[in-house]
Symmetry: C2
Subunit: 342 residues, 2 copies
DNA sequence: ATGAAAGCGCTAACAA
DNA sequence: TTGTTAGCGCTTTCAT
């Protein structure tokens, strides 16, 4: 069964390709009779649109691309779901590419590696150099998603990392915790921002930060979080009474490390992370977190993509937008006095 | 900065587009001098290949598509990583589409919705009707990934679900557990197969299955697993001494439900799942599981895609291949006598 | 080793 | 309302 082209359908129905195209694309000015006739041929021959060919001509494909560092961890999967859902509301299909946090891959994407394939690109960058203002702005709709900030010449939507971190740490302080450690301050720009929020919260409360943890956090995942806690014990450090983790995965790894050493959460050490991944509600104890508004983030990102498609010609100043977040308190950060939920 | 076409480069270098194409595609018969000259123009003008246009003509895009029901849960994310990794070894880029387990979307894909965009499609189907043998075979490389079995006219690679389930249940039996419940026997074809393995293991050991759990598992996720356990308590059923869950997410939900009712794992109830997601090593207690060999699965799937591209003309009998799995024992299924790991 | 030119399947000006 | 036709950017026969 060879490929059925529009021309084949046109021949079969005794009309021109123009008419077939009109029918396929639900063009308004087609007589019902004609539509009926063409539709019959369409069905009979089993015609399937070649979206690539259409894209070549029309410049629009109906796809948008989402590039994320990894899908192995939960956060980007949940982000992807939010984007898929938001895109579906606009009749857009999402294609996800995994970059591996690889600089070369991220650069390829910023330089248009997905253009013509997708009408717009959402990129969660990890490795992209921060000061890339010298790079020419991309000539296709591109929005940066999430916490990285590679230069100031690209649209971006993310949560206010400083505020989010400060909220988390303030919550710990309000719970009476004083020796509050941070894990992951060294993870790229996001880590820097979250450290700043941490620092501000402590400063506001007049608390001195405890001594820094000995091991740097290599990867923002469970294994990394656990390793940092292990290093804390092997360095015989004074154990903090609370930990603010770079993200929930790290927090979960840290909790595992603590419990492996016989420490209870939150009685001995309180823990809080960021991202509010689904898993948080099922850890032991359930993990407190700061929840970014993923649906809103996705919607805003698509809005910006839209905007960029419109003003392709007359570029405007790049935007950085924040979406809201909220504190989600679970047992991992509830001070002992308060008791746990029923 | 308008779009730079091959023609522009050709003009700039004073050659034909043929030559530019040759240089770009590393064609052998190009004189070093010519290559040098064209390359200079390429760089100078900042040429970027339009992969869509190339795909239109050549029929190959360098992309393969992976369609999964969801990315919100951990399993398909980890599967996607495996596919991305395997594909990278073959200079293929993976584009992931989320189907939502939606029948309409799955049908669109089987009918070629991603053709011309991707050189081949890997589909993890959920809703696809089982007896779709009447459907004409797809005219593009397509391999089914994972546990579903929609008819016998498509290539498929998955683990042997019956054997995997039997292995898990045999492990529980060897641990001395007798009242072994299953959660998720009702989740589609996969559930049916895993139930069969469960049944076989019990039969081999001469154990009668305990009374069925009152609530059907709606979704194969944590919330579903927890809900089933809750229903077990509200129905005042005799609590089993071990649970074999449809997958690890369900197992994790079940563990949460058990601990919410004051039952300890594995002392009161042992739990085992399937998938061996990363999270398993960090749950409390760490969750035993059956681990599919994801890298092997991905490689075999790509092999089959390759094979299909070759014999486009002369179709061969569809294949169903199994990839190996192994039992991963962690604390959640270690009988009390045995003690826990150091 | 390189050039000229015919499409890949579709859309959209331009015509009628 | 529908037909005709010129490309979209690229690859690839056929020439040279």
């Amino acid at each position: 069964m060879a490929k059925v082209r529009m021309q084949d359908v046109a021949a079969h129905a005794g009309v021109s390709t123009r008419t077939v195209s009109n029918v396929v694309n639900d063009y308004v000015h087609v007589s019902p009779a004609m539509r009926e006739r063409v539709q019959r041929s369409l069905d009979e021959l089993g015609y399937k649109m070649d979206y690539v060919a259409r894209g070549l001509k029309s410049g629009r494909t109906g796809f948008i691309a989402l590039a994320v560092p990894t899908l192995a961890g939960p956060y980007f999967g949940e982000l992807a779901e939010a984007v898929v859902h938001a895109a579906a509301g606009r009749s857009l299909t999402v294609l996800v590419e995994v970059t591996g946090g690889d600089l070369e891959t991220e650069l390829r994407i910023v330089r248009g590696g997905l253009t013509n394939l997708a009408d717009g690109v959402l990129l969660s960058a990890l490795a992209l150099p921060l000061n890339s203002d010298d790079q020419p702005p991309p000539d296709f709709p591109l929005v940066l998603l999430g916490e990285h900030r590679p230069g100031r010449n690209l649209d971006q939507v993310c949560i206010d990392n400083i505020a989010a971190a400060r909220t988390a740490v303030q919550h710990l302080i309000e719970g009476g915790y004083r020796r509050i450690a941070i894990i992951g301050a060294d993870i790229g720009e996001t880590g820097r921002l979250r450290y700043e929020g941490y620092r501000q919260a402590l400063a506001e409360a007049g608390i001195a930060p405890p001594e820094a943890l000995p091991l740097q956090l290599r990867d923002g995942n469970r294994a990394g979080g656990m390793a940092v806690v292990e290093s804390m014990f092997s360095a015989r450090m004074l154990v903090p009474d609370a930990i603010f983790a770079f993200n929930d995965e790290v927090a979960i790894g840290a909790m595992r490390g603590l419990s492996a050493h016989g420490l209870r959460v939150p009685d001995d050490v309180a823990v809080i992370g960021i991202d509010n991944i689904v898993e948080d509600a099922y850890t032991t104890p359930p993990l407190s977190s700061v929840a970014p508004d993923l649906p809103a983030l996705a919607e805003r990102a698509l809005d910006l993509l839209d905007e960029q498609s419109q003003r392709q010609l007359q570029p405007r100043a790049p935007r950085q937008e924040f979406t809201s977040f909220r504190l989600v308190v679970r047992d991992s950060s509830r001070p002992p006095e308060t008791g746990t939920s029923p």
